[in-house]
């Protein structure tokens, strides 16, 4: 199955910039469907980015993050061709993970 995670990591000398776009409903649990029933909360709770075996960015998210979440950050280090690992886990215990090459 294709990953839900799309990552672009670009190295500019001493810094690597990372953008990630993830497919996920990020249902907050506050919205009602057409029948007037609450759509249960279903959102990514933790997202991690790892380079060289160490975390470079960790996100704790709630249902207030937009659907199909996007995040951008940067870290010092990283080399073209090296790998960045991205993983998430949601409130239902589902997970996904991918690795991306730094360009």
């Amino acid at each position: 199955m294709a990953s839900t995670i799309r990552v672009r990591a670009t190295n500019n000398g001493d810094t690597t910039e990372v953008q990630a776009l993830i497919q996920h409903p990020m249902d907050s649990g506050f919205v009602k469907d057409a029948k007037g029933e609450l759509i249960p909360a279903h959102f990514i709770q933790q997202l991690s980015f790892e380079y060289d075996g160490k975390p470079v960015f960790l996100a704790d998210w709630g249902g207030g993050i937009s659907k199909d979440p996007y995040v951008k950050f940067a870290f010092k280090g990283g080399k073209k061709g090296d790998e960045l690992k991205v993983s998430w886990i949601d409130n239902k215990g589902a997970t996904d993970s991918t690795t991306a090459k730094i360009g």
Binding site: F30, V31, Q46, D60, G62, G63, I65, P69
Partner: protein, 161 residues
């Protein structure tokens, strides 16, 4: 009743997932060992708080002082409350954590980020806003907590209201 059942099974699943990671059978591909190793318990209580003060207390256990060294970028008027791009940069040193609050959302804490040493204290993300509200960004730097905020007007609410 429905909600209780979901909460219970979610807790069971999370405990199960946690147990797997701890035992170290940890499917490394899931990255769960990384999360466990970094000692990051998900701040569930903080994400349930209904006021800025309570959320900050639950998350950091200290109060924040205003800082002019934090630049919070958010639109003056958000056309679509479901997707409001908000970003932050700061010149504060030794930043370890950055979090976002929306005062008038049903749960005020939106996101909390942990920045290991070497990560640049600049983050861009997209958040939901139920209605016009103050947006606050918290920056934990050098062991102290700082903040700045901005009022963002919302024309169409983003919480399905």
């Amino acid at each position: 009743m429905n909600i209780t059942r979901n909460k219970l099974s979610r807790r069971v699943i999370l405990q199960g997932a946690g147990a797997v990671a701890l035992v170290g059978l940890g499917n490394a591909s899931f990255g769960l060992p990384a999360l466990a190793a970094a000692n990051d318990k998900y701040p569930e209580e903080a994400f349930k708080q209904k006021s800025d003060t309570e959320a900050i207390k639950a998350l950091y256990g200290k109060t924040a002082e205003a800082s002019d060294k934090i630049k919070l970028d958010a639109p003056e008027i958000a056309e679509n409350g479901a997707v409001v791009p908000v970003s932050v940069t700061t010149t504060l040193a030794d930043v370890t954590s950055i979090s976002f609050l929306v005062s008038d959302n049903p749960n005020v804490l939106i996101a909390s980020y942990k920045l290991p040493a070497g990560t640049v204290p600049a983050i861009a993300n997209r958040i939901k806003m139920a209605k016009t509200s103050k947006v606050t960004v918290l920056v934990e730097a050098g062991g102290k907590l700082y903040k700045t905020d901005k009022e963002v007007k919302v024309t169409v609410g983003g919480c399905g209201g």
